[in-house]
Symmetry: C2
Subunit: 143 residues, 2 copies
DNA sequence: TCTTAAATATGATAATTATCATATTCTTAT
DNA sequence: ATAAGAATATGATAATTATCATATTTAAGA
């Protein structure tokens, strides 16, 4: 469904959502280990997310990655789009072009409503929402 | 969501569902062109599907690929599993291990119900069902 | 201002997936 | 039997994705 990169990015961002803050910046190596993702790999992804202002960072001594209040308000979908682009989630299952209501492929009626719902949910849920669920013990992060 | 291989395989199988029969075998080249997939690529996929008895084939003069009545009764999901394996559809979105109700990842509550529904639908719908929909003009094949 | 510790930019390598090519085997009809 | 037309088996190449590595830039503190 998603690429490995998106999965890793989501894990990292959610980890930051739970553990970081403007006063609690976290370095790559302290993110990589608990979420169980290769350090160099997650570093690259974090840099990209930072460049796209999905997450925040400062360099140098005492630097690291973190989420601002504003970052926390973002929908989960932002992370996905930032890494994979929008195409993957929205393209038709059978043709490789965009999904078309007027000339639906044979799987459209099965797949499209669910995809719409999924995207809607990922747009509604913010990083903060998920962070709260994790902290309430309704879901688990490291796995 | 699915790999390119699965998409191609589905297109080919549905093409066969609509156009072939025990008395109407179709050769690779006559499948590849209308579904707009490279011949050598789809050939390999068709061979694999044939080996797994998702579709039928005979070689030699007058040979080709086709679907028997029994083939037509199969759920769409069979095609997907035959090419991609079962893992891809069933694994957790965030960890790379299997999805777990008792220790759900932060996206589980959003994603899991929809995935279950999707799998259910793909299990219920047979190739014949989709073929009929195409023939009724409810959906379109080549795209 | 200089040293140090961090992210950033850039790119190299490995693994997987997608694509292409061809010699072999089987089936039908001559 | 044998010639021809098809799938089959096998493997090679290309493109994309995943992974790793490192030199450069920036910020903080001595
Ligand atoms: S047209 Fe194929 S999924 Fe919508
Ligand atoms: S535990 Fe992650 S999707 Fe179910």
């Amino acid at each position: 469904m998603f690429t490995n990169s998106v999965k890793y990015a989501l894990k990292a961002v959610l980890f930051l959502a739970v553990h970081s803050g403007e006063e609690r910046k976290i370095m790559v190596k302290d993110i990589a280990e608990p979420i169980n993702v290769p350090k160099a790999y997650i570093a690259k992804l974090l840099q990209e997310l930072s460049k796209q202002e999905i997450i925040s960072s400062t360099r140098g001594v005492k630097g690291g990655f973190y989420l601002t209040e504003s970052n926390l308000k973002q929908p989960v979908l932002n992370v996905i789009y930032a890494i994979d682009g929008t195409y993957r989630m929205n393209s038709c299952l059978l043709s490789l072009e965009s999904c078309n209501e007027y000339k639906p492929c044979p799987l459209h009626h099965i797949v499209s409503p669910m995809r719409s719902k999924l995207i809607e949910s990922l747009k509604e849920k913010t990083l903060e929402d998920l962070s709260i669920e994790i902290q309430s013990g309704l879901s688990y992060l490291p796995l």
